[in-house]
């Protein structure tokens, strides 16, 4: 079993994601980082977008101011004339048409460019996030719910789309409109503008209050959605068990509870969002009435130099003022959600990656005429460790497959040591078997060889090189693994086997499949090697999946093999044949094997009996049987071997 034992979870399993910490989120910083993506690649495009938005907003401001000019300057003067001169009118209309065309073109331009930017940024964020995820240590995957990681690539990234493609342009255009209208207002009457300012403050407060509430509820909604997501994922994965136990009703009940919670959160969130709009627009209306009354009073009392026409014009502007303001407040929800999404994305991106201080690399090598090892590009079948030294010289060591453990201690967490004082060696070509009861640390030992986890103390040397000095990818390439849980990928059978070595020819793949005895069943599949596998090899039996995993390891052709209970689900007949293939595969390689079956460990060069993280017995089969110790007990079935 995978030994990293995750922390106990709540009764309904994993709650995807930490509770988003509303307070600790630093919106400015997140927004800044996001803008970094935009200005990074799309700096010029973004500047053009801003300019285009400016034109587009100005065109629409112009159209709202145009009416008064039209009536006052072009229509009123010619009213009643017998032969009115329509030329100025035609001219101004043509001018407006030009402005409008410019406005339309700008609108199209910025929307179109914004697609490039938003989709480009999304792709980049996704790609970067995924690339970063690949560098994270295994520990991260042990301790985080998978569904939650998935949702960062879809749900969270999508909130960014809304922000970049809609909220940012709209808020900018609204701001432009606000400023230009404000300037026109100031020109008309500073007193009334002051009044407007006071009203504006109230509106801002209302937005803050409602927007804040609704933002919080939206985040709550996302959280509940995550919970539903987690529950569905787990239950649907086990749906067949649910059916076999007629457990549908209980599953439905549990689902209903979560569904109701989600519904409540969604209702609250939407309610506040929905109410915001009428409040804003009617505060605008109240503002209008107030302006009319105060303006009227000012004009009538003569306290301010205001003409009645000015007040009428000001009132007109008041209307154009509230609209962009409402639009901004409407975008706030989207912004809050996007920031929460971005926060989660950046959290993942900021996870410290797997450390790799290695500098020794694995290269193809050949012997030159002097019998010295030389690096080559061709695949020679001979591998060498390329070891750069401090004085700048290089030395090559042929990969032999010798692995030695020196007093290795290890714990998944610092306070709990899982392995203690492990010292062992495997000479090239030897087969080392690990046996012991559950939790004894067998899997852990093999996880240390390929540096899935780092040692707490002691060291492991591979061909006399401390594995900490070997670059992880190179180290792992030197190790083949058939892991406990077989995982296959969406793709053809061929592609799945080729996963072991990407440049393997078709012939090599057939050979590997034959070696693993997988060739027979593959050829019986509807499309043979071209059969598509989906959903982790659904439709294949456990045994068939394992055969494919073995073939995958065979095609990789590594000097050292790790077999983790690889043959546990293959029927004995098939296993016999696989075993023969495996024997071929193991020839000339160092093999670490963890197996249920004593028949597979019997012919090992050395057997390590692990208990509570320590090697309590070691030796060959016959010696251990003669010793009548733990191995004898395990072998005779007195203890469970798993």
């Amino acid at each position: 079993m995978p030994n990293p034992k995750p922390m106990p979870h709540g009764p309904r399993g994993r709650i995807p994601g930490k509770r988003p910490d509303w307070k600790s989120m630093r919106p400015g910083k997140i927004l800044g980082r996001l803008m970094g993506y935009i200005s990074g690649i799309y700096r010029i495009q973004f500047v053009i977008v801003l300019i285009a938005i400016l034109f587009s907003s100005l065109a629409s401001v112009a159209s709202s101011l145009f009416l008064r000019t039209l009536i006052d300057d072009y229509i009123t003067p010619v009213i009643g004339q017998a032969a009115p001169d329509l030329a100025p009118l035609t001219r101004v209309l043509l001018l407006m048409i030009c402005i409008y065309i410019l406005g339309m073109a700008s609108t199209y331009l910025y929307s179109r460019l914004m697609i490039n930017i938003s989709q480009g940024v999304l792709k980049q964020v996704r790609d970067e996030m995924f690339a970063h995820m690949q560098t994270l240590p295994i520990k991260y995957f042990d301790t985080h719910a998978h569904g939650e990681m998935m949702s960062r690539f879809t749900n969270d990234t999508d909130t960014l789309r809304q922000l970049i493609s809609q909220s940012i342009p709209q808020m900018f255009s609204s701001a432009v409109m606000l400023v230009s209208v404000l300037i026109s207002m100031l020109a008309l009457s500073w007193q009334l503008t002051l009044l407007l300012g006071a009203m504006l403050l109230t509106m801002t407060k209302a937005t803050q209050f409602i927007g804040g509430r609704s933002g919080r509820y939206f985040i709550e909604q996302q959280e509940k959605l995550g919970r539903v997501n987690g529950y569905i994922e787990e239950m649907i994965n086990g749906q067949k068990v649910v059916k076999v136990f007629c457990h549908e009703q209980a599953a439905e009940q549990c689902f209903d509870e979560l569904n109701d919670e989600l519904c409540d959160a969604a209702t609250r969130a939407n309610r506040f969002a929905n109410i915001l709009m009428p409040i804003m627009s009617n505060l605008g209306n109240l503002q209008y009435v107030l302006t009319a009354i105060v303006g009227g009073a000012l004009a009538v009392s003569g306290l301010a130099p205001l003409s009645l026409g000015d007040i009428a014009a000001f009132l007109q502007l008041t209307k154009s003022f509230t609209m962009p303001f409402t639009q901004i407040s409407q975008q706030l929800n989207a912004v809050v959600m996007a920031l929460a999404g971005a926060n989660r994305i950046f959290q993942l991106m900021d996870e410290p990656p797997e450390t790799d201080g290695g500098y020794v690399t694995l290269v193809n090598a050949a012997y030159d005429e002097n019998g010295a090892l030389r690096e080559t590009d061709a695949r020679t079948g001979i591998w060498a460790w390329k070891h750069p030294h401090q004085d700048g010289t290089l030395s090559y060591t042929r990969v032999r497959g010798e692995v030695r453990f020196y007093d290795v201690d290890f714990g998944y967490t610092e306070d709990k040591i899982v392995l203690q004082n492990i010292t062992l060696y495997a000479k090239p070509g030897q087969k080392i078997a690990f046996v012991g009861s559950t939790g004894a640390g067998k899997t852990t030992v093999t996880n240390l060889i390929n540096r899935f986890y780092d040692l707490a103390d002691g060291k492991i040397r591979f061909d006399d090189i401390n594995i900490n000095k070997i670059r992880k990818p190179d180290l792992r390439r030197a190790l083949g693994a058939v892991l406990q849980d077989t995982h296959l990928f969406t793709g053809t059978v061929m592609e799945n086997i080729r996963y072991g070595r990407l440049d393997a020819s078709d012939e090599e793949i057939y050979a590997a499949a034959r070696l693993a005895n997988a060739d027979g069943f593959i050829r019986r599949l509807p499309l043979g090697y071209q059969t598509m596998l989906t959903s982790d090899g659904e439709g294949l039996s456990q045994g068939q999946r394992q055969l494919l995993a073995i073939a995958r390891a065979a095609v990789a052709d590594p000097p050292v093999l790790i077999l983790d209970e690889a043959t546990s689900s293959i029927d004995t007949r098939t296993e016999q044949i696989v075993q023969q293939g495996m024997d071929h595969l193991m020839e000339g390689r160092t093999v670490f094997v963890i197996a249920h079956r004593l028949s597979t460990v019997r012919n090992a060069n050395a057997i390590m009996v692990l208990e509570h993280g320590q090697i309590i017995e070691r030796g060959e089969h016959d010696d251990l049987i003669a010793a009548r110790g733990k191995y004898y007990q395990l072998y005779t079935g007195a203890l469970e071997l798993s």
């Binding site: 979870h9 076999v244 209980a250 209306n285």
Partner: protein, 579 residues
């Protein structure tokens, strides 16, 4: 599609109806307010009549407050209705999934179902809210504004009629071109999801083979596809805004030109032109809203289709007209049974199987990988229906039973078994929700699980992680057996359920079965000869056919496959453990 979805409104009908009603009232106020405002300017401000301003101001304040109230109510009801609607959609989908047969489950991927139940439903919820609020608001606004416009000046209002077809055609074109791309985009999302899911679950494989670069490449391909199709779709949608502006600005120009001439010739007053402009704005704004809604609806149509697909998926297995609710005994009969997973497949998984099993018998089933052992036993609790022939339990065709009755009498421990997050107790009680603690201990002793459970600090209250990740394979299998035993079934099927259990414990489990539940018919699929050699009879399967059926002694005497397996394991030394 709409019909099926509208069935999900149910108890939220009142909210769904009240919301548009209040929207209408709100719109009425919104049409009234500008009218009053223009009056205030014309009759109040322009004449400097403070008294009039105050009086009308008061009326306006009341109107604004009413409008706010109506708006708030409509928002409130809309939120209730849409969230409730989404809740019901999820509810219906999930309940329907619970009714799925194995065949249906095989059709949908887990990731796909999760997306449909979450992302797609959220899309639909937003669309629904938009329909009951804005889709009501916009046309009401449009019609009332149009009416007012025609009242003010019908000749001038004809300008709108010129703009309407342009807008309609443009919008239709946008939807027509954008929709297919949106649909492709959603499929790409599924693919992206599956790439991430596979990557995350198979992380150890990825790292062990140093395939990070290849995984990144795969992911970039998937994200590139999303990029491509969303861009293609949005590039079409982007014409929406300029199109709207074209119509709006066009109308304004038309109004200005003709309006100016009317005014000059004295057939219209300036105030009327002002009002026409206001209505132009309102009409076009509502048209814009409608067009926006159509774009959003277009996007959610893809979601709706995916949801309805789940809702309309009919379980392939249904109860007969008058299902039997009692299984008389644990006898099993296969009568010329044929089976294949997909109809029309050339290769039959099971071919002409005839078997007769008496109640209380212990039957061992062995056969090579892919010989259809699991398929054979899955027909007994009717997880799949036969393609030909019939399977009978207790003397009746399994199709004549009530499915729940059948499955509670036929307990099956699946090969790919799952524990769920929760305590051990909770997991065990899947077998029988009302089982007492003593009962749990009893079945766990039978399944040889009691001992190891007691070694856990929290015993039976130990928390199990998703999928049973924190117990060993052998422990998981024994818990699954205990869970099945709790059903007190007449037939117990173990599909390779002790493969990770050591031979001694395996033997103890079988002994417990023999002694404690002698009347239960037991079918044991195993790889180990030791697991089946004490069975009453053994079925040897080979490539979907029965290659032998008889007592272990008979099999050893004349079945070639059995002999081969027997001798191979004898040589392997596994028999040592049995002795």
């Amino acid at each position: 599609m709409l019909k099926r979805l509208s069935q999900c409104i149910r108890e939220y009908r009142t909210d769904t109806l009240l919301s548009p009603l209040f929207v209408c009232l709100e719109v009425a106020m919104e049409v009234l307010i500008p009218y009053l405002m223009s009056k205030m300017i014309d009759n109040g401000i322009h004449t400097g009549d403070m008294h009039y301003i105050l009086r009308l101001g008061g009326v306006l304040v009341v109107c604004a407050l009413l409008s706010l109230l109506f708006g708030a109510f409509s928002g409130h009801f809309a939120a209730n209705a849409s969230a409730g609607f989404a809740r019901n959609v999820r509810h219906d989908m999930y309940y329907n999934i619970q009714d799925f047969a194995f065949e249906n489950i095989d059709r949908f991927s887990t990731a796909g179902l999760v997306t449909r139940l979450t992302t797609d439903v959220t899309n639909l919820q937003n669309a629904f809210q938009m329909v009951i609020r804005i889709l009501v608001r916009a046309p009401v606004m449009l019609v009332s504004s149009l009416l007012m416009a025609f009242r003010v000046n019908s000749r001038l209002a004809l300008t709108f009629l010129a703009a309407a077809p342009v807008l309609a055609l443009g919008m239709a074109a946008i939807i027509h071109w954008a929709f297919p791309n949106f649909q492709k985009m959603f499929d790409c999302y599924d693919r992206l999801n599956s790439v991430v899911q596979e990557n995350v679950t198979a992380m150890r494989v990825v790292k062990a083979y140093v395939r990070e670069p290849r995984e990144i490449q795969k992911f970039q391909h998937a994200s590139g596809e999303i990029y491509r199709y969303s861009k293609a779709a949005e590039c079409v949608v982007v014409f929406n805004a300029p199109l709207m502006q074209l119509c709006m600005y066009g109308c304004m120009m038309g109004l200005s030109w003709f309006g100016a001439q009317f005014i000059i010739t004295g057939s219209m007053r300036t105030g009327e032109l002002m009002t026409m402009f206001t209505y132009t704005m309102q009409i076009l704004m509502s048209l814009m809203m409608i067009s926006m809604i159509f774009v959003m609806l277009t996007m959610s149509r893809a979601s709706a289709e995916r949801i309805v697909e789940v809702l309309n998926e009919k379980s392939r297995l249904t109860n007969g007209a008058q299902p039997l609710t009692d299984v008389p005994d644990g006898s099993i009969r296969f009568d010329h049974v044929d089976f294949s997973y997909s109809s029309g497949a050339a290769h039959k998984c099971l071919d002409d199987i005839c078997l007769d099993i008496r109640p209380g018998e212990t039957i061992g089933i062995i056969g090579g990988t892919g010989s259809a052992k699991s398929t054979l036993v899955q027909l007994i609790p009717r997880l799949y229906d036969v393609s030909g022939g019939s399977v009978q339990v207790g003397g009746h065709d399994v199709r004549s039973y009530d499915i729940e009755t059948l499955r509670s009498e036929v307990a099956m421990v699946l090969q790919k078994n799952t524990l769920f997050s929760g305590t051990i107790k909770e997991n065990l009680r899947w077998g029988d929700a009302s089982a007492s603690d003593a009962e749990l201990v009893r079945v766990c002793k039978l399944a040889q699980a009691d001992d190891f459970i007691r070694t856990f600090p929290n015993g039976y209250d130990t928390q199990i992680d998703q999928g049973g990740a924190n117990v060993s394979g052998g422990q998981r299998q024994r818990l699954c057996i205990a869970r099945a035993l709790l059903k007190k079934p007449k037939i117990l099927i173990l599909d390779d359920s002790t493969s990770a259990v050591d031979t001694k414990t395996d033997a103890m489990i079988r002994r417990a079965f023999r002694e404690e539940i002698p009347d239960t018919t037991k079918l044991i699929i195993a790889q180990r000869i030791s697991s089946v050699e004490q069975a009453d009879r053994i079925i040897v399967l080979d490539d979907g056919r029965v290659a032998g059926f008889g007592t272990p002694a008979e099999m050893l005497a004349n079945n070639h496959i059995y002999q081969e397996v027997y001798h191979s394991q004898l040589k392997g030394g596994a028999q040592d453990a049995e002795s």
